[in-house]
Structure formats: structure tokens, C-alpha cells
């Protein structure tokens, strides 16, 4: 089985972004970028399925600017076999990304797609579900456990209040949650090896997909700031404040 792992280049999770003064967006100049953390978990899960003999090949695919090749290279250094970059300098919305991925699926014919449940930049949480819909495949979102069993996959999902386990007919789309696994670090020899692994470049036009955004961002603002309050000396002072000043007890 071939596994397709779509990955996104995003602002590193440790960076606190700043809104541009003109309200046109957030300032991404000279900001550290990295693979979306949930996508790292997706790559890791695919690698484990390959190591356990369930999968033969892992293809990572990203949609974005030329620099997204670095993110693909990170996936290759972790152990993926080859990469595909759909190059665009436009901002990409989940629906357009799902359409581009559908075109890649038509070429690659994977038996399973694993991707992050959410990108930590736009926080949309849509792409996996949309891709499953466009392909007419079942979906296992927010996965914390994946077990392949013949022509089906059993997915344990993190849902509000607990866990839900569903069985999906393959091929299927799975989105990863935090507890699925702990992604590995790429070793130096693997980083060197990754430099020789192939990355195919494509454009949306070649795939016959229109990436034009449908949503118009009117403005981006900073959230209302919260001011630091007071430090108190004792528990009794805290209770007094909560009772009489804040009125929440």
C-alpha cells in the first residue's frame, strides 16, 4: 500500500505572531517556519506503518511557495520516500488544497491518506474532511490510534468527552490528533540521504485546479489585550478578592 501524507509549511509553533499595523495580515517576514506539528505526527504514523510492513511507499506532498520544498525535505529526512511540491505563491484555502490533493490522488492512487487535523496558522480544521468528501472516501478524524486490518482500518478518535472507535473501508482519509504518536527527529545520515530523494514539482494549472481564494479577508486585528492583574500574598486574600471584588465565588 502507498500512503500519501499532505504536509503544510507554517509558522513554528513557538513563534508568537504579530499583526501588521495596517491590518492586512500577520507579519511573517523573518519568522521561523516549520512543518505543521500535526503533519509531523502524520508522517511519523505513515513511517510506522511502513516499518510494520503494512505500507510500501510514503509520498509527502505540500502546496505552497518554493520554500515549502524545505518542509518536504524534512519529511524525507524523517524517512518518507519521495515528495511532490505543488508550487503557488497565492494564499491557499482548505477547499482549494483538497481539490489539488484530489488531483494528486488520481495520479498516485494511494491506499491511505494521513494528514494533520488542523494547521496551526489558519486553524481551519477542514482539509482532511474536504478531501475525503471530494474522493467519496470515509474519514477518520482526530485519530489517536490506527490499526490496518485487510481492506479496512480501525480508527480511535479523540472526541469531546472521550474516545470513539470507527471502522473505515479502505481507501480512507485519516487526520491525526496529538496522542497518536511522538514524531522522531531526523538523524544526520537521514538528513544527508534525504537530499538525494526526488521532489516532483507541479503547478495547480497542470493539475487543472483553481486555487483562487473564495473568502475575502477584510482585516486582521490583534485580539483585545488582557492586562496583568495583581499578585496576592495568601490563599485567604485570594478568596476574599474572588468573593468580594470579582464576585465569582
Amino acid at each position: 500500500m502507498k500512503i500519501l501524507v499532505p504536509i503544510k509549511r507554517v509558522v513554528d509553533f513557538n513563534v508568537k505572531v504579530r499583526v501588521k499595523p495596517d491590518g492586512s495580515g500577520v507579519d511573517l517576514a523573518n519568522v521561523k517556519m516549520a512543518m505543521n506539528p500535526f503533519d509531523e505526527i502524520a508522517v511519523e504514523e505513515a513511517l510506522r506503518l511502513k516499518e510494520s510492513g503494512v505500507a510500501e511507499e510514503i509520498v509527502v506532498v505540500s502546496i505552497g511557495p518554493a520554500e515549502a520544498a524545505d518542509t518536504i525535505r524534512t519529511g524525507l529526512a524523517m524517512g518518507a520516500d519521495r515528495g511532490i511540491l505543488i508550487k503557488t505563491d497565492q494564499p491557499t484555502e482548505p477547499l482549494a488544497v483538497a481539490k489539488a490533493l484530489k488531483a494528486i490522488v488520481a495520479e498516485e492512487k494511494p491506499g491511505l491518506i494521513i494528514l494533520g487535523k488542523q494547521a496551526i496558522d489558519d486553524d481551519c480544521n477542514q482539509t482532511g474532511q474536504m478531501l475525503a468528501a471530494l474522493l467519496g472516501w470515509p474519514q477518520g478524524t482526530f485519530a489517536s490510534k490506527i490499526v490496518i486490518d485487510g481492506d479496512a482500518v480501525t480508527v480511535t478518535r479523540e472526541v469531546d468527552g472521550g474516545l470513539e472507535t470507527v471502522k473505515l473501508r479502505l481507501p480512507a482519509v485519516i487526520t491525526t490528533d496529538l496522542r497518536l504518536n511522538e514524531p522522531r527527529y531526523a538523524s544526520l545520515p537521514n538528513i544527508m540521504k534525504a537530499k538525494k530523494k526526488p521532489i516532483d514539482e507541479k503547478t495547480a494549472a497542470e493539475l487543472g485546479v483553481d486555487l483562487a481564494p473564495r473568502l475575502k479577508v477584510l482585516k486582521v486585528t490583534a485580539p483585545p489585550a488582557r492586562r496583568a492583574g495583581v499578585k496576592l500574598a495568601s490563599v485567604s486574600e485570594l478568596i476574599e478578592k474572588l468573593r468580594n471584588e470579582a464576585g465569582v465565588l
Binding site: L95, K167, V248
Partner: protein, 311 residues
């Protein structure tokens, strides 16, 4: 504008998230229909009909809608979409699972997690873990939206019940997915997203045992829900569904008590809209103090037992 709100429920009753999402839906227009789809979900449909502002309840009851799996439920919502200008659901794991599937089938760009309705086609939503708020305008003829429930007050129940229309749902030709099992522990405490008071723990607890031993007595006294930081979940001290933060639950209770939580931006994203924030932390420089109304510098193992006694 006619809107369809997909109700979140457990067949036996409605989740509070539905009443919150309804508040946002009513801001888009006053002709709101509520879809209650499931198996043996008449009690939930009856409850839906009592919510103030609901014009009509669409009640779909069928074997294949049991457990409300995304594939058949999305197909049902899409089949109903023709009569509606907007399709809405709460941005919970239920709505997040369902609505993008609906949106893609309708070729609509979804607007996720709205926190404010600026106009019926313009919304505010947080991005970058809440470090920026974007105002987006939709250009699609139809809208698909999920609502961040903590940003809206729940609509209450009224005297008069709306009309309930039973709709027939033909079973799909072949099932793509099937339900295997669920592990939903019985809650002894209020649910995180509905709680008035939340007490959360972080890495400082050092073990799952301590996490329960020190937090539970205080939570019991306060009638509070228990939350956790990602660090505490990662370390195995707390279950994942207790996680408050960018990728966990987003909460806005009246009182949020952060215990031994440093205040990473991912955590702040999940709780900074709380009315009153209390931080208890050993490190006086911890970023959590920058958002806390009241801070206590000290060891959670000493302060929490004191707090429990004093309450």
C-alpha cells in the same frame, strides 16, 4: 435568510453547544431550522423545539444515523441544503468532523470557528491560536459555518414549542464507515465547555496521581470542571479530552484557575477569554501571570490543600 443549524445531541437530549450555536445562527437571520438527526432521538428533537427562536425542527430518525457518523450525516445535510442560505454547526469535534465534508460536497469555502457575526456574510474568527482575529467575507452563494461556542451565550428554552417535521432518510447504498465502540466516561463534574468554573493543572503536578489528588478536592468544593495543559496531557497526567488550548478545548468560564501552568501561547489561546483568571505558579516570571487577574506565587502542592480548606 433561512438557516439550518445541525444540532449536537446524544439522542436522549440536546448538548448545550446547540443552544450556543443557535445564538450565533439567530444573528444571521430569524428563520432558523434545527436538524436533529440520529437514532431514537425524539427526546432531543422535543428539546430542540423548545429553544427560543427555532422556527422548525427537522427530525430525522434512522438506523444508519445512529452514532451520527460523518459520511451518512453529511449526505443528509447536503440533501437538505437546497432550501437554506446557510448551514451551521457548533465548532466541537462533532461539527468539525461533519461540516467540512458538507462544505466540500457543496463546493463552498467553510468559515470555521466564528466568534462574532459582523453581517450575515461577514464574520470574525481567531487565527494563529487566537493571536490574531480575522474578519472574513464569504463570496459563495451558500454558507457553511462552524461556531465557537464559548463566544456565544446559550439561547434559553421557551414556553412555546416549534413545529417538528419528521423527514424520511433513505439508507445509503453502501456504508463507507461503521461504528465500533465509544468510551465516554460518566462525568462527575460539569463538562469543560459548559462549566462556570474551571480548575486546570499543568506539568507541575509531576504525576497522574498528584494531578487527581490535588485538583479533585478543590474542584469538588467549587463545583468546577477540571482542565489540563498540553504539557500535562503529553506527560500522561490527564486525559486528552481535558486539554484546554489551541488544539484542545476553547473555554470562557466565569472563573479559570490555572495551577502549575506556565502559560504557553497554545494554552492561553484556549482560556484567555475567561472572565476572571487566577494563576498559581512557583515561577514568578511565568507568562501565565501576564494574563491573570489574581496571581499566587507558590507551590501547587502547598497552595491547593490550603485553598481546599479555606473554601
Amino acid at each position: 435568510m433561512t438557516t439550518l443549524l445541525v444540532a449536537e445531541h446524544d439522542d436522549g437530549g440536546l448538548k448545550e453547544t446547540t443552544a450556543r450555536a443557535l445564538a450565533a445562527t439567530l444573528e444571521l437571520g430569524d428563520d432558523v431550522h434545527l436538524l436533529v438527526a440520529g437514532k431514537d432521538c425524539t427526546p432531543a428533537a422535543d428539546a430542540a423545539a423548545r429553544l427560543v427562536g427555532v422556527a422548525k425542527v427537522l427530525h430525522a430518525d434512522a438506523d444508519h444515523l445512529a452514532h451520527q457518523l460523518a459520511e451518512p450525516l453529511a449526505a443528509l445535510v447536503v440533501s437538505l441544503a437546497g432550501s437554506f442560505d446557510a448551514l451551521i454547526a457548533p465548532a466541537t469535534t462533532f461539527g468539525k468532523n461533519l461540516m467540512p465534508r458538507v462544505a466540500a460536497l457543496l463546493d463552498v469555502a467553510q468559515v470555521s470557528d466564528i466568534t462574532r457575526v459582523v453581517a450575515p456574510d461577514t464574520f470574525e474568527r481567531p487565527i494563529y491560536a487566537g493571536n490574531a482575529i480575522e474578519t472574513v467575507h464569504t463570496t459563495d452563494a451558500k454558507q457553511v459555518i462552524t461556531v465557537r461556542c464559548s463566544a456565544f451565550r446559550p439561547v434559553s428554552e421557551g414556553e412555546q414549542a416549534a413545529l417538528i417535521e419528521t423527514i424520511a432518510v433513505p439508507a445509503p447504498a453502501d456504508a463507507l464507515s461503521s461504528f465500533v465502540s465509544a468510551e465516554i466516561p460518566e462525568l462527575e463534574r460539569p463538562e469543560l465547555t459548559a462549566a462556570r468554573v474551571i480548575i486546570s493543572g499543568g506539568r507541575a503536578f509531576q504525576s497522574a496521581e498528584n494531578f487527581g489528588k490535588y485538583l479533585e478536592p478543590v474542584a469538588d468544593k467549587l463545583g468546577a470542571a477540571i482542565g489540563a495543559s498540553r504539557a500535562a496531557v503529553d506527560a500522561g497526567y490527564a486525559a486528552n479530552d481535558l486539554q484546554v488550548g489551541q488544539t484542545g478545548k476553547v473555554v470562557a468560564p466565569d472563573l479559570y484557575i490555572a495551577c502549575g501552568i506556565s502559560g504557553a501561547i497554545q494554552h492561553l489561546a484556549g482560556m484567555k477569554d475567561s472572565k476572571v483568571i487566577v494563576a498559581i505558579n512557583k515561577d514568578p516570571e511565568a507568562p501565565i501571570f501576564q494574563v491573570a487577574d489574581y496571581g499566587l506565587v507558590g507551590d501547587v502542592f502547598e497552595i491547593l490543600p490550603q485553598l481546599e480548606k479555606a473554601l
